[in-house]
Symmetry: C2
Subunit: 357 residues, 2 copies
């Protein structure tokens, strides 16, 4: 199966859902969903009919739409939503689905007012669920993103030394990713040194790294729209006993989850494996977030892997496994791998080296 | 007036609008609006009552909310929207306004279902209109952002030479902005060399800069959330006659608009000044976009300054003036200043040097 066939297969899956939801037309407006269903990376909306499809964009993207989605009809006159409405009206659709979690109330009002024959029908986020299972093209791009991020980390690791600020280190990691072929980082790098490591979402600041610091580094690259996501906690100097103890507890929790993961498990079951290890080590209260999340065109997508996640994690999902321990005033340790869920379990895609083992 | 008083004054203006719209409570969900009304930079929603206010956030942001908006009550248990609903229900509000252009249909449905006494009322984007007029704190931050971006440009300009790729040059500009104190760029830098300059929204690529190139550089810095936006078109080597002719036509169009701008003019009147100069020079068809847009917490905000913009440009607005000429196969020239609209006209905030004059 080649790239265009894979994209066509995605549209086939969405049309099955349309049939189930009894809509004759579907307005797709969330940008990652439009990209996933067309390959088009510019701004626009997609109208899917039972057979035809129309990409609603504007003159800035006419050439790009023809290059990226040559098999699709594209319109570029007038507003995106107005083009979509005109097409739905012309199609004679009786029920027109839209993404409830993305279309604004103002756009819904416009649909109500301007759709002539069709009733606008708010639908759930099924496309996000479909996107949770990656095809071979998507896995290949995520692998590339992870490899670029790994190579950049190796370069950075050799350069980290006392006196460097968090911001400088984060910038260097970014620079290495871009030089290595990334479109950019897949999210703002976390570079949390010493006590800053206690904040899971710390932003890189002006603190200078000192001997004896643990540094939580959470970063990812983006390649052709696909994200990677990885965390290492590195040691500047020799770890003391407490640092080693916390580090090893987090690593043990992570390895247990990586080994225990099986396709079809609910997210909360996978989370529980790691959480149980940290509970045994006395760090239950210090692990305050979920174990992981899906990664793809967005850095946070389905399935979720947290304490309350009832979604099953299917074969073909790409998820993070990222336990952490955060101690106010002391710092933190988080270790994160990005894995592909296979028939057998979890294949690790992130290959950055560990400081401790 | 100090910072907190300025933020309080913004809430007073919004409460006047609430009274006009006959709502007892207002749910503010668009992130730049929440930030503008509170100073809080994390994730959350704001519920404004006739007197009280509640910042609905979560445990990740409890400390930050207390630091950034100490005068506001903050909640952090449960989902943001659920907290807001509980507060509106407890307040006994009869009509609860929300931002139509931001709240999704799914959230609207949830409001309809869970609000007990209050009717949800979709409102227009008045807060965006209020944000179009900057106060002294905002102007000071935009000036700082512009100054950081100018200094970075001077550094970059000295380094541009044949053999450098667009991407390398864009990364260098970014690096200089961050080293100079920017939180980051305010948008993805455009670095469009030679024929790539014909695409107004070109992304920096692997093309190497060569002698004889014009390079369109469109960039900005972000400082404490506020954006700058500037464009220069630089020459590598000596310009030929055609390059000089196009460059001077664009500069003349820009200067005419900068000199002609008066507060209270409609956006389309300002656009027309520049467009007329380019028409006289034979480049009317080569100027395919609007003349400018407002800049603040977002890099594109109100007022708009385009051919169809009927909004008046008030004193205190910060807008771009950015005519351009784009010629397929040849390249392009765009020159952009960021200006503060004053009683007398336009004060230019961007001070990056020009190659040609």
């Amino acid at each position: 199966m080649t790239g265009p066939d894979r994209i066509e297969a995605r549209r086939v899956a969405v049309r099955e859902w349309m049939s189930e939801a009894e809509v004759d037309a579907l307005l797709v407006s969330a940008a990652p969903n439009v990209r996933w269903l067309t390959g088009f990376t510019g701004e626009g909306l997609l109208v899917l009919g039972e057979r035809g499809a129309l990409l609603c964009t504007d003159s800035r993207y006419t050439v790009q739409a023809a290059e990226e989605a040559p098999e699709l009809e594209a319109a570029s006159d007038g507003g995106h939503l107005e083009q979509a409405i005109a097409r739905i009206n012309a199609s004679g659709a009786g029920r027109a689905g839209f993404e409830s979690g993305h279309v604004t109330y103002a756009s819904f009002q416009r649909l109500q007012e301007a759709l002539e024959g069709a009733e606008p029908v708010g639908l759930d986020d099924r496309i996000k669920h479909l996107r949770a299972v990656k095809d071979a093209d998507e896995v290949a791009l995520i692998r590339r993103a992870a490899a670029v991020a790994d190579a950049a980390f190796v370069e950075l690791r050799a350069r980290i030394e006392p006196g460097m600020t968090e911001r400088e280190a984060a910038e260097e990691l970014r620079r290495q990713m871009v030089l290595g072929g990334a479109e950019g980082p897949s999210f703002e790098t976390i570079m949390a040194s010493g006590p800053n490591g206690a904040k899971p979402h710390a932003r890189p600041g002006e603190r200078e790294i000192i001997e004896g610091d643990l540094i939580v580094i959470d970063w990812g690259a983006k390649v052709e729209g696909y994200c990677s996501d990885c965390t290492r906690t590195v040691m500047v100097g020799e770890p003391d006993e407490r640092q080693r103890e916390v580090w090893l507890a987090v690593r043990e929790a992570q390895v247990a989850a990586l080994e225990g993961l099986r396709p079809g498990m609910e997210g909360r079951e996978i989370d529980a494996i790691a959480r149980e290890v940290l509970r045994e080590r006395g760090f239950e209260r210090e692990f305050g977030h979920g174990l992981g999340h899906g990664v793809g065109l967005q850095v946070h997508e389905l399935p979720t892997v947290g304490q309350k996640s009832e979604n099953e994690v299917p074969v073909g999902a790409v998820v993070t496994i990222e336990p952490g321990v955060y101690i106010e005033g002391w710092g933190g340790v988080r270790l994160e791998e990005l894995v592909l869920v296979t028939e057998d379990g979890a294949e690790v895609l992130t290959l950055s080296p560990y400081d401790l083992q």
